[in-house]
Amino acid sequence: MNTSQKRGAGGWKQLACKGLTAAYMAACFCFIFAPVAVLVLFSFQDGRLPVPPFHGPTLHWYAQALANDRLLSAMGHSFLVGAGSAFLSVVLGFLAAYGLARYRFRGQTLVRSILVLPMAVSYLIVGMGLLVMASWLNIAPSLWLVCISHVVINMPLAFAICSAQFNPAQVRMEMAAGDLGASLPRVLLQITVPMMAPALSAAFILCFTLSWDEFLTAFLLSRFDITLPVAIWGLLRGGLNPQTNAIGSMVFFGAAALALGAEYLMFRKKSS
């Protein structure tokens, strides 16, 4: 009887513990999702202000956002900068990761730490540095500079993702191809790149998403042609506006879909 009583008390304690855990998790998820929920809900607001009370659904603000030339051209710029910088980041990061994974050489640790260094520095510093250099060399702010800064920011990430996915088993395949007479570029393009395709596409998607969303260097380094976050920043000066909700919601759903896709690619690779 004594033992059963004890077990009963322990059971209650465990149950209370579980309840507390669940309540805490629920509270955290509420906090985490609050801004997204409010953003999306009031993008459908039938009225001028994206705050309660909710007047019922309309797609008016989406139509307005999609008819806004400034936003659309900014979206185009963001797409170009994102795709260009992500491509360059992945190519440079992949080559560097390949060199470090397949060869041993003196100073390897140093090279590795230099390659990931920009990750430890805030975007403000990267943007400021390029701005100072550009004004020194009399180069006008442009999307090219934004693209360059995004490669500086994202290439270390692409390098890290590729590095993590290289393994010794792949070396045997590359050696076999080499023994059969394939040249080094051919081995890289026809053996290594296909083997690394999941990591490469995941890296590309991540770099693209981060570039697409990057504000600070894009703000510092562009003037007339602006990217989407800078255009949204401009909208914010007009105060609370459901149109900002609409464009924000669209960007969120697009980016979340891309991110989930990238995660799926990486996860599938790991489990295979």
Binding site: M25, L92, F105, L115, I125, G129, M155, N245
Partner: protein, 286 residues
């Protein structure tokens, strides 16, 4: 002869060759700009003479010391609050039964990462507005009688930051919690340690790397951020990145802005050096 490389062969050239495009890119567009920034920061904006005048100004003029102080306190508050709130969340997720549930919970816990960075702060502005959802709910349940003035304050900035860094810290802490061998905690319990004691002397120390990584990322991203304080803070307690941007936009004073950015970099380097030893400890079995 087989011309393919084996990992063990010691040749520096090909390895470096493959890494050189990336290295050159960083030298040209990261290292050189930083050096240019150092050079410019040593120049006086009006007279053009070289000296440490700008740095002296950063540490003596009240507007700048205030901004530095605000930056440091904001970062400290945000880092601590995010860790304290994220740890139980990461722990709860890590103790979910099935791996699939854990993955799902984690994916959802970081989903709002993908709201646009500028839009995320704007969304908090909506939530915290005087007529916003938070005030409506609090008024409706009778917890308050007049709307809280939360938007455009340092508190709003802190909430916006903590929201972002809870997600980040949950990721890093979860990653180190799942690497801990569960047998260690079981062994501690078998040897008579209470649940609390087991947590404090086994689980918590072993999860320090995740805490350190989270703290480091929080410090770097928080102290260098301009958008969140600018949108949510309402120009009340101005932080260093805001003064940097003001120097650039209003006064076109790149030397002063460079000097302040370098001070920020030094703060980040100090944070890295402080946290570095934690990043490598806590491997299972030590």
């Amino acid at each position: 002869m087989n011309k393919m490389r084996r990992p063990s062969r010691r040749e520096s050239l090909p390895g470096l060759l493959f890494a050189s495009p990336a290295l050159l890119w960083l030298v040209a567009f990261f290292a050189a700009p930083l050096l240019a920034m150092v050079a410019v920061s040593l120049r006086d904006g009006t007279t053009g003479q070289y000296g440490i005048g700008n740095f002296v100004q950063v540490f003596t003029e009240k507007a700048y010391t205030d901004a530095l102080f605000n930056s440091l306190t904001l970062t400290a508050v945000v880092t601590l609050a995010s860790l304290v709130l994220a740890y139980p969340l990461a722990y709860s997720i890590a103790s979910l039964r099935s791996a699939r549930m854990q993955r799902l919970a984690l994916t959802f816990a970081v989903l709002p990462f993908w709201t646009s960075y500028v839009v995320r702060s704007y969304a908090w502005l909506l939530v915290l507005a005087p007529t916003g959802p938070l005030n409506s709910v609090l008024l409706a349940i009778g917890l308050i009688h007049t709307p809280l003035r939360l938007a455009y304050s340092t508190t709003a900035t802190e909430i916006g930051f903590v929201h972002f860094f809870i997600m980040l810290d949950t990721l890093t802490i979860y990653a180190s919690l799942v690497q801990i061998n569960p047998r260690l905690a079981l062994a501690a319990r078998d040897l008579g340690a209470s649940a609390l004691r087991t947590f404090l002397s086994v689980t918590l120390p072993l999860s320090l790397p995740g805490i350190a990584v989270g703290a480091f990322l929080t410090i770097v991203l928080c102290i260098g951020d301009y958008v969140t304080p600018q949108i949510l803070g309402g120009m009340r307690a101005i932080v260093l990145p805001q003064t940097v941007m003001m120097q650039i936009q209003k006064h076109l004073d790149l030397p002063m802005a460079s000097a302040m950015s370098l001070v920020l970099t030094v703060v980040m380097a100090l944070a890295y050096l402080t946290l570095y030893r934690f990043l490598k400890t806590g491997e299972p079995g030590r």
